[in-house]
């Protein structure tokens, strides 16, 4: 007889059979065992199942929301970058994203670099206005764009001025000097760095307005007046504080345009107790050469000139008094500008109010 344990140490089958349970018992016991198992695990399974289902559903919803938000953010960011880099026109559906990207850029740009960026944005707005006027002269977006342009110009110049430590009162002097004007003040009082900050902004703005060819003056739309004012205001900001461009350019509105008549918002008053001399202004510049205002012609007195013009807006067609204290830091009032002046000369006192 062979050794039954030689390989796997198992009992001989005939012996093992003695230790094997009956088939019926095995099946019945199995049924009872599984029933016990089911009963024991039913409650726990139900509890686990419910918790798992709730947990998994919640986790799934959170995941879907997170993935969706991430995808949306990536899409918006990508579209914004694309819209910004390609400088999409205002008619494009991506234009709001372009503006969003610009705002983000403005938010993250260091203060020192902001004026230049705003000047660049002003260039964009000017270009957009030109394009939109060419294609949709009656678009209601034009005034909005012009307001944005105005705001960008003002902010960039103010920012550059503030960054350079140049006050509004002296800025025109310095710019005049920088532009080669033979100013009577001869004061510069600021460092080269200050100059370059402002000049850089001014160069950009001059470039924008030098190449701009807005046709607002030819537009017969209802927006024309407001648009012209806004554009002209921006242009005058550049002219007044940067110089180097024509204050009128192609934006010049027709004199006496009735569409600019409005409320008294932004009313400014300029009172001159003496006659103003042209030579009293930096570089001997006349602010608005070429326009004919009668009372200016015979002013010969040499007394001081006082101008209170916290929000003065002076428009090209009107020759008036101006001084270096003209501030351009305030927004252009949409409804128009009231300009009042009284001048006392040897011939008497002249008072006048001009509503735009």
């Amino acid at each position: 007889m062979t050794n039954p344990f030689s390989k796997n140490e198992k009992l001989p089958r005939r012996v093992k059979k003695l230790f094997t349970p009956d088939g019926d018992f095995t099946q019945k016991a199995k049924g009872r065992f599984l029933a016990t198992f089911d009963a024991a695990h039913a409650g726990a399974a139900a509890h686990r199942g419910t918790a798992a289902v709730h947990g998994s559903r919640f986790a799934l919803i959170i995941k879907i929301i997170a993935v969706g938000a991430a995808a949306f953010a990536i899409f918006i960011a990508s579209a914004s970058v694309y819209a910004d880099t390609t400088n999409v026109p205002i008619e494009s559906p991506l234009y709001p994203l372009k503006r969003l990207a610009e705002n983000v850029q403005l938010a993250v740009t260091p203060p020192a670099a902001k004026p230049q960026l705003e000047a660049t944005l002003a260039t964009r707005r000017a270009s957009e206005i030109n394009d939109l006027e060419a294609t949709h002269p009656t678009s209601t977006l034009l005034p909005t764009l012009a307001a944005d342009l105005n705001e960008d110009v003002t902010a960039s110049i103010n920012g550059a001025t503030a960054a350079g430590g140049i006050t509004a009162a002296t800025s025109s002097v310095e710019i005049g000097h920088a532009n080669g004007a033979t100013g009577t003040t001869g004061a510069n009082g600021s460092s080269g760095a200050k100059k370059s900050a402002l000049e850089s902004v001014c160069d950009t703005l001059r470039s924008a307005f030098g190449t701009a060819s807005a046709s607002a003056s030819t537009s017969a739309s209802a927006n024309g007046g407001i648009l012209r004012n806004l554009q002209t205001s921006a242009r005058i900001d550049v002219y007044t504080r940067c110089g180097g461009i024509s204050p009128q350019g192609s934006f010049a509105p027709a004199a006496g345009s009735g569409s600019n008549a409005g409320s008294g918002a932004g009313t400014s008053t300029a009172t001159s107790t003496t006659s103003a001399r042209r030579g009293a202004f930096p570089g001997g510049r006349r602010i608005f050469p070429g326009s004919g205002i009668p009372f200016n012609a015979s002013s010969t007195a040499s007394a001081s000139s006082t101008t209170s013009s916290s929000s003065t807006r002076i428009f090209p067609p009107f020759r008036t008094f101006a001084s270096s204290s003209i501030s351009t830091s305030t927004r252009m009032p949409r409804a128009g500008v009231h300009f009042s002046a009284s001048s006392t000369t040897s011939e008497g006192t002249l008072e006048g109010t001009i509503g735009l």
Partner: protein, 187 residues
């Protein structure tokens, strides 16, 4: 105190089934039952010498398995060791509660009578008598080793872990049992 991370070995098939059973896997539970019931029954039968008692204990051990399987920690050992330790404890409890004598304490005629009444097959009866005689010649240690190694089919490693002896000593003891079985059952 920092916990030492033990390197976990891949589970053997029974441990894997037990892990699935813990998670509520009914199929794994049924497979575990199919694998263990014959061995558990054989273990209890060799100890008690009674089919009915072996069947009762076999059922009880699986009910207990359902209750206790959640305590089984697969990172601390193999399932087969854990299960047979539970079976041994159950047998001890059974003897304590029922005041029932172990198989080895039965008189020979009693065992023969039980075997005759419980086994209808004449060959089985004869064979059982042979086995009973053979088991009666064994010491308590040899009987336990016989049950765990030949009936339950445990590995030396698991038996060593359960009864606290070295594997080498178990192999030597098993060799003696094999020689005895050959000698007794050959006749």
């Amino acid at each position: 105190m920092a916990r030492t991370k033990t390197k976990q070995e891949p589970h053997d098939s029974l441990t894997a089934l037990a892990v699935r059973m813990k998670k509520g896997d009914r199929k794994a539970t049924a497979a575990l039952y199919d694998e263990l019931l014959p061995k558990a029954y054989g273990f209890f039968f060799t100890r008690t010498g009674r089919r009915e008692t072996a069947e009762d204990l076999s059922q009880d051990i699986f009910v207990k398995l359902v209750e206790k399987v959640s305590y089984f920690d697969e990172t601390r050992g193999r399932f087969v060791s854990w299960f047979w330790q539970m079976a041994r404890n159950m047998l001890i409890d059974h003897y304590r509660e029922k005041k029932e004598a172990a198989f080895s304490s039965f008189e020979e005629h009693e065992v023969e009578a039980m075997a005759v009444t419980e086994m209808p097959d004449i060959d089985d009866r004869l064979r059982y008598r042979e086995v009973q005689k053979f088991l009666a010649t064994m010491t308590e240690e040899e009987r336990e080793l016989f049950e765990l190694r030949f009936v339950a089919g445990l590995a030396y490693k698991d038996i060593a872990h359960m009864i606290g002896r070295s594997e080498g000593a178990l192999r030597v003891a098993t060799l003696r049992i094999k020689e005895k079985i050959q000698k007794e059952l050959k006749q």
